[in-house]
Amino acid sequence: MADALVEMRGIVKTYPGVVALDGVDFTLGAGEIHALVGENGAGKSTLIRILTGAEQPDRGRIRLSGREIRPRRPAEAQRLGVAAVYQEINLAPDLSIAENLLLGREPRAPLGWIRWGEMRRRARRILGDMGLEAEVATPLRHCSIAVRQMIAVARAVDQKAKVLVLDEPTSSLDAAETSRLFDLMRRLRGLGLGILFITHFLEQVYAVSDRITILRGGRRVGSHAARDLSRLALVSAMLGKAAPEAAAARPRTRPVDSGAPARLVARRVFRRRVVQPFDLTLRSGEVLGFAGLLGSGRTEIARLLFGVDARDGGTLSVNGKTVQHHSPRRAIRCGMALAPEDRRAAGLVPHLSVRDNILLALHASRGWLRRLPRRRQHALAERFVRSLSIATPDLSRPVAQLSGGNQQKVILARWLLMEPTILLLDEPTRGIDIGAKDQIESLVGDLRARGMAIIFISGELEEVARVSDRVLVLRDRSVAGELAGADLRLSSIMERIAGSGGGDGGA
């Protein structure tokens, strides 16, 4: 690559206890759309935060057009020509399109008064240059997310950006909007900009990028020209398993007993812009795995099933009863439990004690008047702390002080003592140590043997394949297939995730 626009060399960044980036090299050429892919914790966001000046690397160098740079703040990076547009668009929704394009650089008369006519003319010209059509006096809040996204891009480009970072710009766009954004990206590529594009959708990676860089666990796994990299190779690189090894036969599982009672049945359940209609049947004594990349809809389906988000259509029945207005409270009453993906945001109440966190759901279901006697609370919490071997000095320790694995076990304990018939585990093993991981996996086996119906969600395909009796494969917010028995192999999961080839493009 002769004209490298950005060269990042040997970038190292550590946070307390975590190596986020471990000597990553990255090169972005001028006039290139470069996709950066990787699963959770791969280091994508840390890398772009360093490039855009939001963080400083511990070690390593960044060159922009051959000159070394060390941006300390996003504003500084912006001045140097590196601009970023994030998923949550950083514009002022109450101001007009023209102001959002030009505020801070607006044309002014000698006394400092804003020249509105000139401002609107300039804004129109900028939009025209980008091939966008919109009335520039419209307040931004009246625009669709796609238009806002493109206004943000236009603002960045008009500020003489040479490098444009697009962080998951398409995650709330529909197919038509996405292709409009792609048109704009191609146009900017033609102008010689380097575009760093982050997305979870493989289709989109192939639809628009020239090169693909894959990160995994804070290291660069590889950089390839998009046309030289097969989808399967890409998926295996992201997930860290070479295809041949992945094809190895899966250990054990007894055959699924199709006569067991159906615990959870979903028919054509969907939520607009979030999950396409899907069917699902979960039986007593089986583990149903969800496999898919981040953003494929695996967490979203769990939230729909548990009633966190309302569904826009379809029928759902739990333990034989049809559920109309769903909510977590109702789901719990029907015998469901969900250990959420994001422990911090949706699982734990940080400064409540380990005991209170374990007993929160039980107390919630008993109502405020029927609090358990203190001794019984203690005994219950103690029992689960012991059986799950939660490492805590005492039960009244704030749960925030525990390690990730122990926090996860606190949430499991919360639900196990409710004795649910249906257990949804969303990424129960993410970010926890190997020992705790093995423990959780064998616990899932025990629970299944006792007749519990379990949905097991994990970004680690090997784990899903190992633990589950059946696997639903998800791709681009819809169910791409179901695998069971002899078909349930890592290689077949990956093939389904990668999509059977075919450039169907868009979301």
Binding site: R333, A345, A346, D356, L360, H363, W368, R371
Partner: protein
Amino acid sequence: MRDVARNLLWPFAAVAILMAFNALRDPAFLHLRLVDGRLTGAMIDVLNQGAPVMLLALGMSLVIGTGGIDLSVGAIMAVAGAAAAAMLHSGASSASAVGAALAVGAAAGLWNGSLVALLGIPPIVATLIFMVAGRGVAQLITDGEIITIAPDAAILAIGRGSLFGVPLPVLTALSAAGALAALARLTSLGLFIEGVGGNEEASRYAGLSVRSIRIAAYSIMGLLAALAGLIDAADIAAADANNCGLYLELDAILAVVIGGTALTGGRFSIAGSLLGAVLIQTLSTTILRADFGGRSVPVELNLIIKAAVVLALCLVQSGEWRRLCRPIRSAAA
């Protein structure tokens, strides 16, 4: 537990220092005497006059515990006092007047809670509405006049009576504190409030009914504000819609902050809020009694000192301040 003890140490020390200051200037400050079967003395007066703020601070700590705030408590006091006085005026018994006042207070709390929990209006805005309209409601009830309460009405005991030598307002405040402590320890309400204030999303996942918990907190607040309004009305034997409870919402919030409860919610301390209220009243009393070189200190100094205390406490609680102080501390170490 150690946390709580440390949080209470400072307000406790402040109360002790103020008491000591008063005692040094005038040893009679510490005297307690039994007059007509009733304890009297400056320290009893502090508790007695502080009773309304204690009640408000108790309720406010629950509301702040859920991550909210209630600016309308002074207005609720006025409405409740007006309701009781109007009932008496129309010939009802003292018991039904008290009942009416409490019902009105709870209804006002329910209204606030519903605006916050059901309509999703931010707490400051939601309670501001009742703060604006509440005194109008109170004047509507009293027909715009100050209704006096007949000197022989049984209801006056709430403000002036005593039991076993202890003034009833003090007993009321302490038993409300006891009841709340029991509610927090013997039922799950305390846990739920801390859950909702600490992490609303997680509480929802765990099956808590976030809305009803919020509404409950504001309703209890309304009930306690009504009690405070009754004490105030009984104390002056009149319902004054304009001045009853004026600015007390600020004292209540201040008491809660002094008691070590962060305004961000998720935790509350009943003992701390009680102590905070006592500290505020001790401060007022100290200023009232103090005189420098024969010149008495103007009561208004109280306002300025309160302002300074609010700012100082908030500064100390703010993260930015700690960041500023860190280099100084590590340099000293």
